[in-house]
């Protein structure tokens, strides 16, 4: 299932609507990377609020997205991780190290606006 990607100024916002298969996640990754290049976006927000679980594959893909988009000169922030999701992730041992996270879309936009300064959520 394809994830809708919206362009908001210099940012791209990908809103995950429901559970994604591994193939869907890879497709999302490629679509984002391609569009960042096409639109010369400065930032990407991936909203995972509706993702049912964030498991090892999803985590790895989110890290890949961050890395690949960084190579295109843009920042990525993951928003919408729920308490239950965060709890499972840390129990599984997945920390999303090196990936910026914010509470929700509003915070994600604020984060991108600030650049990487201020309350940077990347793990030192």
């Amino acid at each position: 299932m394809e994830v809708p990607i919206l362009k908001q100024g210099q940012y791209l916002i990908a809103s995950i609507q429901a559970a994604l298969t591994d193939a869907d996640l890879v497709q999302l990754r490629d679509a984002l990377v391609q569009r960042v290049g096409k639109f010369r976006s400065r930032g990407v927000i991936v909203d995972v609020t509706a993702l049912d679980v964030i498991d090892s594959f999803a985590t790895r893909t989110l890290r890949d997205i961050t890395r690949m988009i960084k190579l295109r000169g843009a920042e990525t922030v993951i928003v919408g991780i729920q308490p239950e999701g965060a709890f499972s992730m840390v129990r599984l041992g997945l920390t999303l190290e090196g990936v910026a996270t914010a509470l929700d879309l509003e915070e994600g936009l604020a984060f991108l606006d600030r650049g990487t300064k201020g309350l940077g959520k990347e793990t030192r």
Binding site: A19, L20, T21, D22, A23, D52, V53, I54, D55, S56, F57, R60, R63, Q82, P83, E84, G85, F87, S88, R91, L92, G93, L94, E97
Partner: protein, 133 residues
Amino acid sequence: MADEASVPINSDADIVAARQKGRALAAQMGFGSTDLTLIATAISELARNIVLYARRGEIVLKPAEDGQRRGMIVIARDEGPGILDIPQAMQSGYSTSGNLGLGLPGVRRLMDEFEIVSEVGKGTIVTAKKWKR
């Protein structure tokens, strides 16, 4: 009372099906929201292992009972290549780069009980249980 379910695992779409089924059954059993996600995540990891290493298998979900405790059993079964060194598999966790491995220690941390039986050339059975608090 909650049902049993068996989800065949052949493709990555089945990974989602299995974990959604697991979540639904666990919800029926009265697990809290955090536990629902822990169970669904564990199922996702186990089902993916089946797809990646054995191509095919099944996830069986059923209620568990132990005296006064009620809970859920997740069984991940396949006839794949099997695991050669189980202790080693239980040591290695996720690495930030390269192969993530089976992530079995992680699954064990998500559930309350965890057991694995595997034979090279025959297959693997992982049994994990979660009890209602």
